[in-house]
Assembly symmetry: C2
Homo-oligomer: 369 residues x 2
Amino acid sequence: MKIGILGAGQLGRMMALAGIPLEHEFYFYGNPASAPAAVAGQVFDEKDPSALDAFIKASDVISYESENINAELVQNIELKKPVFPSVKSLRFSQHRLTEKNLFRELNIPVADFYKVESLEELKGAIAQLGLPIVLKTTTMGYDGKGQAVIKTAADIGPAWQQLKGNQLIAEAFVNFQRELSIIAARNAKGEHVFYPLAENSHRDGILRLTQVPAPGVSQQLQQLAEQHICSLLDQLDHVGILTLELFDTGLEGDQALIANEMAPRVHNSGHWSQQGAETCQFENHIRAISGLPLGATNCRHPLAAMINIIGKKGDKNLVLSEPAAHLHLYGKSERANRKLGHINLVADDATHMQQLISKFDGFMQECGE
Amino acid sequence: MKIGILGAGQLGRMMALAGIPLEHEFYFYGNPASAPAAVAGQVFDEKDPSALDAFIKASDVISYESENINAELVQNIELKKPVFPSVKSLRFSQHRLTEKNLFRELNIPVADFYKVESLEELKGAIAQLGLPIVLKTTTMGYDGKGQAVIKTAADIGPAWQQLKGNQLIAEAFVNFQRELSIIAARNAKGEHVFYPLAENSHRDGILRLTQVPAPGVSQQLQQLAEQHICSLLDQLDHVGILTLELFDTGLEGDQALIANEMAPRVHNSGHWSQQGAETCQFENHIRAISGLPLGATNCRHPLAAMINIIGKKGDKNLVLSEPAAHLHLYGKSERANRKLGHINLVADDATHMQQLISKFDGFMQECGE
């Protein structure tokens, strides 16, 4: 099958590397001059007006690697070729208001929120929610961009100056212990598979470290997370990978997990699955969108972790001389705050995993901005 | 690093898929019209007289996917770019006589053998060795081609007619219980890693099934095999993967393993390592030839197996609906006796593995010729 991917970055690259052994061919639509995916398929130049039609024509089925793409474009492509996940999943993921309304409708707990279109509405929202709040753009936010935390009344003015002109959402600040994510796949037959809850550590809004399974997660918490993402998958008639970011509140019962946002795609917090799971998220996404049975998601090792390589690539030999480490670089040049690759770690127990993570402490400092 | 591979078949394809995450780029020298590797790098057309120089120029280091290539060519390439494994490893692997002499020199047991260049020499060899013997061409044999078994005096004439005109070797028939192989990697620093002994089941000279670790193998047998391949690696100053095919005689001591032949490359009996080992043979070959530390070879699961898909591709859905199975297709069209792909299986115990292999019994019949 010929699979077209809107975008030609590292997610497309890793989807192709996972899909080629299934005898799929890959085509990408993006910028050929900066295309980590180009090693694994032809890149149609998005600056060339005739390229889109050629890309669509070349593809049997089309997917994407970012939710920050033009939904109109995807809707038009759907008239010609199947697109998975569909534009429905894409639109809900693109807009924090409709997304949060969907979560509410499906009884997935969310932080209280208000739409904000003026400074008055912002002040009204704060009167309802109290402080602190998080003020976010409803669209195009990623890696911590497009948001501001308002802790005191003095922060209101600067936050408004920073974000005004966008449609905004004011969210109650969730008192959480840590950030988790769950990744699941659904195919067109409605079959689901779920990966274990991951614990994600961010700095400056960028994911630094993922640990799987999230330390200390109970079976009940895993089940609750699966129940939430399963509701979303079925409600959206989603085909492909879906990621749900959650806050772990430490509370008992339904309020244990508060949904933050979802992404209709393979996700940075699922990269561990390349070494840690029987079938990685990339292969399961490709299996799902190409109508194949989904692969087993059980862990190959008791514990797995993923360290992002950011800004600088660091010492390849240092990484590869650690037997429990695997290196995945994206073919990108070094630049501050740029995701250049990741390291997957596997371990049989928590002590070994802590040793491994400590071993890469210096590396994470050097290759972390 | 830019890695050039002589050949553009499935082995090149899988080397590239394993090497791309290490940020290597791949170039191939072969037939672009029939190139499983073309999905992962540019193929320089071997029919174009200017392509070889361009291929060499594009590559920082060069390797190959078959020992049935022109050694003169490789020797000439070595004058311009590093080639791993070197032409020394290649020449010894290409010629059954020099290969067997090397085995003897390193105290690696081999079947008694005689060089045969005439019908008289063949009869002389039979007088020394007794019957049965195996008569083989000294060069270019693979997948059971270029050989004949002489069981009785009546077989001498037909075998001679079949093989005459080639330099031949007459080998005593080894009374073996099963065929094993060991795969190892060595890098330029002289570091080694070893995979567990694999048991290989052939039919019509073509590998059908590999099981790892070979059932019932003792630690002593594994050590003996590692000792043999280690001698070869060091003697040849080999860089890359080396495969040693062995006969398991069931005897005690040094005669437990009789060496059959070696291959200076990734090997069909190592494909299981893609799912079964912490680092697969393809990645370790690429790590070795690109000067990187070697990866851990420990098994991710207690048992692994590999089934070759031959002639017909069979039902993808059947394979992928088995959670313990992984599918690797090569992008080739169906043709009798053609290797089109393989299935990797993993299991926690022998009962489960036997169930899995039995489950694919029908598949192996259908996709086995």
